[in-house]
């Protein structure tokens, strides 16, 4: 059952040291800034963070890294023009990095939410990222075996929720949110707006409420400008 909570801090009260935290967003689009800031305030440490990137500038995910709360980042594209916080931590050996091709990352998270034990993907075959991975030839094509990526906690930003926890997103801020919401023991969602049950078109719901544990409304007061960084 989805439950509405009043503040990001209340939503993050259950986080534990050592948790694996799936954090939505592609760069800053869809990044749940207020939830990440609440995660910083919990002081939880030794975290493994799964995100497409490894932080931009000084806020949000970058601030979490700067606090030394993260042991390991699993992402597809850490290196960006404004990923200096991560870069310094990595170069000084203060953070572990697992680089995963973006599609394998998304599919591993989906597999976790979908109860799939493992899957064979063609992405990465013959590359350094295949090192140590099991391979298999199926119908004449080579594949790598990839395993699901579960979270203890998922932090997701959506546009609107209804009181059942159903979610819709906004444009390309959707990105990893829907799969991450399915793949964690506890899914916390920050939304711009909350509506009554029946206030979302049932045909247009992207994340059904069954995947959502806690919802907190964070009005979109602060707009982050996207950075011109690759990723």
């Amino acid at each position: 059952m989805s439950r509405l909570v009043a503040t990001p801090d209340e939503a993050l009260a259950g986080v534990c040291d050592g948790d694996t935290v799936l954090i939505g967003g592609f760069g800053t689009a869809g990044q749940p800034i207020e939830l990440i800031e609440a995660l910083i305030r919990t002081g939880a440490c030794d975290l493994t963070v799964v995100n497409n990137n490894a932080g931009n500038g000084d806020r949000g995910l970058a601030a979490l890294l700067a606090q030394g709360q993260v042991r390991k980042v699993i992402c597809s594209f850490p290196r960006q023009s404004d990923s200096y916080v991560f870069n310094d931590l990595y170069r000084t050996g203060k953070i572990e990095l697992e680089v995963v091709p973006q599609g394998n990352l998304a599919e591993r998270i989906r597999a976790a939410g979908a109860g799939i034990g493992a899957f064979y993907t063609p992405t990465g075959v013959g590359t350094p990222l295949a090192n140590g991975k099991e391979t298999r030839t199926i119908d004449g094509r080579d594949y790598l075996l990839e395993y699901p990526l579960h979270g203890d906690l998922a932090l997701v930003k959506a546009h609107r929720a209804d009181t059942m926890g159903n979610l819709v997103y906004r444009k390309t801020a959707r990105n990893f949110g829907p799969v991450m919401a399915t793949a964690a023991a506890t899914t916390v969602v920050q939304v711009d707006h909350l509506v009554q049950a029946g206030g979302l078109d049932p045909e247009a719901v992207v994340t059904p409420g069954i995947f959502v544990d806690l919802v907190v409304v964070c009005h979109p007061l602060r707009v982050l400008s996207p950075e011109g960084a690759a990723g």
Binding site: P78, Q80, P101, G103, P226, G228, A229, G231
Partner: protein, 218 residues
């Protein structure tokens, strides 16, 4: 069958983008990689019906957004604000990469550090030991699209050819590149080898003399 355009200079960046654009089939679904390939969009007319995909979850991407049109929730894979065209659709990352991996994109255009004569692609890692590895969607795009075009300068700043018998840099994908568009020549890669189909500001024989790849004549 080669068109030698020796009595002109090599292609400028804009001319190269225009050259690639001319080979994008009308009505196709296309992903333009981060950086240079993005500029190909400037040469695709609305009448061509080409639909642009961005791997962060959109089909029907329009040109870059400026001024009031900038929306931080609407960006391309390079994290540049963009616009949407009529008939666009949004989807999540697993669906977006299912679309890529499942060979639904007709064409993907990528930059490259090296391409081998077998179509192997190296475009994600400079090979420097202290580089922070960052692959993004490159490996998925390389093996996923029906046709992978590479767009690059043929020679690096030190004058070394980037079309090579074997890639020496870390690979992105095996045997995935079908065409290579460069400032001085266009190449096709098939099982029979590499063919130059056009030259710009040079001749085939001069080109061959600067490459270790044996250009098949057909």
């Amino acid at each position: 069958m080669i068109a030698e355009h020796a009595n002109r200079g090599s292609l400028t960046r804009r001319e190269l983008a225009q050259r690639v654009a001319a080979d994008i089939p009308a009505g196709s679904h296309v992903n333009l990689g981060i950086g240079q390939p993005t500029t190909i969009a400037d040469f695709l007319t609305p009448e061509s019906g080409v639909v642009l995909h961005t791997e962060n979850g959109m089909l029907g991407m329009g040109p870059a957004a400026h001024g009031d049109a900038v929306d931080p929730d609407l960006i391309n894979a390079g994290k540049i604000p963009v616009t949407e065209v009529a008939g666009a659709s949004y989807f999540h990352h697993a669906d977006s990469f299912a679309m890529i991996r499942g060979a639904h994109l007709d064409v993907c255009v990528l930059g490259a550090f090296q391409v081998s004569e077998r179509g192997d692609l190296a475009n994600w890692h400079t090979g420097e030991p202290d580089a922070i590895p960052a692959v993004g969607g490159a490996m998925d795009l390389a093996i996923g699209a029906k046709d992978v075009f590479v767009m690059m300068t043929l020679f690096d700043r030190a004058g070394r050819a980037k079309l090579v018998p074997h890639c020496t840099l870390p690979l992105t994908g095996l045997g995935c590149v079908s065409r290579v568009y460069t400032d001085v020549a266009t190449f096709q890669i098939t099982r029979r080898g590499v063919t130059a189909t056009e030259t710009f500001g040079t001749t085939l024989s001069t080109l061959q003399s600067r490459l270790d790849v044996d250009l098949a004549s057909r």
